[in-house]
């Protein structure tokens, strides 16, 4: 009995020993594989950690760069916003200025239209004034010609007045001389005239036929075409004129039937005597 139990125990011991050997071998084999796998994973882990640290450092650097860029961008964005705000303000101001400029432009256009109307009116007035000025200039020219004519007439009348004044003075002198002569001859001028009365001088006209100086060249002698046949007497005063111009007065010194010779009274001279000038006893 004991042998049977011993044999069974031996067999069981053999079986368990074999099982132990098999499990130990399997554990060794699996542990080797796991160890290799763990080493590989460990090396991979190390590499991964190194890469992770490198990536983290890169990430930190990039983060810093991006943070700096972000700060710069924020700064630029703030500056841009400020500039945009300024530009908007300027734009609003420019729009306001534009509106004011448009208002002023409209006002100036209205003023320009009014000024153009006024200019048209002024042009019309100027045209009228020019035509009126031309008309007045014509009248001025006419007035000037009339004035010159009147001045000529005035000079003529003045000459005639001067001539009349000289004649008056001569007559007064002659009258004084005659009065003196009458007083010398004891004749009262208020007494009645006794004897033939000289005939009144009639108006006789003729022309100058010649004019020359005398021998002593102290006086100018004039030959006229009227004589005793025309009641011309010695000592008579005759007037020489040309048209409406008074020239001088002559005193007859020699009388012939149809010709007379007179001496120019220099005090009355008012121009040169030419052949063909008119001569008359009175104007």
């Amino acid at each position: 009995m004991n042998n049977v139990v011993g044999k069974i125990l031996i067999v069981l011991q053999l079986v368990f020993s074999l099982c132990f050997m098999c499990f130990a071998g399997a554990a060794f084999t699996f542990h080797e594989g796991w160890k290799k796998k763990a080493d590989t994973l460990q090396s991979k882990l190390v590499n991964t950690e190194q890469q992770l640290s490198e990536q983290q450092s890169q990430r930190q650097q990039e983060t810093a760069n991006l943070t700096a860029e972000l700060t710069a961008m924020k700064t630029r964005a703030e500056m841009a916003e400020a500039r945009v705000t300024g530009i908007e303000t300027s734009l609003n101001q420019a729009v306001g200025n534009l509106a004011n400029a448009e208002q002023q432009r409209d006002k100036h256009l209205a003023d320009l239209a009014v000024a153009q109307q006024e200019a048209q009116a002024r042009i019309a007035e100027t045209t009228d004034a020019r035509s009126e000025n031309l008309r007045l200039n014509g009248r001025v020219v006419e007035g000037i010609s009339v004035r010159r004519t009147l001045e000529d007439n005035l000079l003529d009348r003045q000459g005639r007045i001067d001539e009349a004044t000289q004649r008056e003075q001569q007559m007064l002198a002659e009258l004084a001389r005659l009065r003196g002569l009458l007083r010398f001859n004891k004749i009262d001028p208020s007494d009645a005239v006794v004897g033939p009365v000289p005939a009144a001088v009639e108006k006789v006209t003729g022309v100058v036929t010649a004019s020359k100086k005398n021998e002593s060249r102290s006086a100018e002698l004039v030959t006229i075409s009227i004589g005793s046949d025309d009641n011309i007497t010695k000592g008579m005063s005759l007037i020489i004129f040309r048209g409406a111009k008074y020239i001088c007065e002559i005193q007859v010194t020699e009388v012939y039937p149809d010709v007379s010779v007179g001496r120019v009274i220099e005090e009355t001279r008012n121009g040169n005597i030419e052949r063909g000038d008119n001569v008359t006893t009175k104007l």
Binding site: F20, M21, A24
Partner: protein
């Protein structure tokens, strides 16, 4: 005494075989422990 001088039986061989298996199993375990840095002295 006659039994003590008897010839080894199959069971004796099985006993040695089991001893060998136990030794081989221990060697495997020691090698496995060496893989984890195990030392017998400490």
């Amino acid at each position: 005494m006659s039994q003590q001088n008897s010839e080894p039986t199959i069971y004796d061989g099985l006993m040695f075989v089991s001893l060998g298996a136990v030794i081989i199993g221990i060697v495997f375990l020691v090698l496995s422990l060496n893989g984890y840095g195990w030392s017998s002295g400490s």
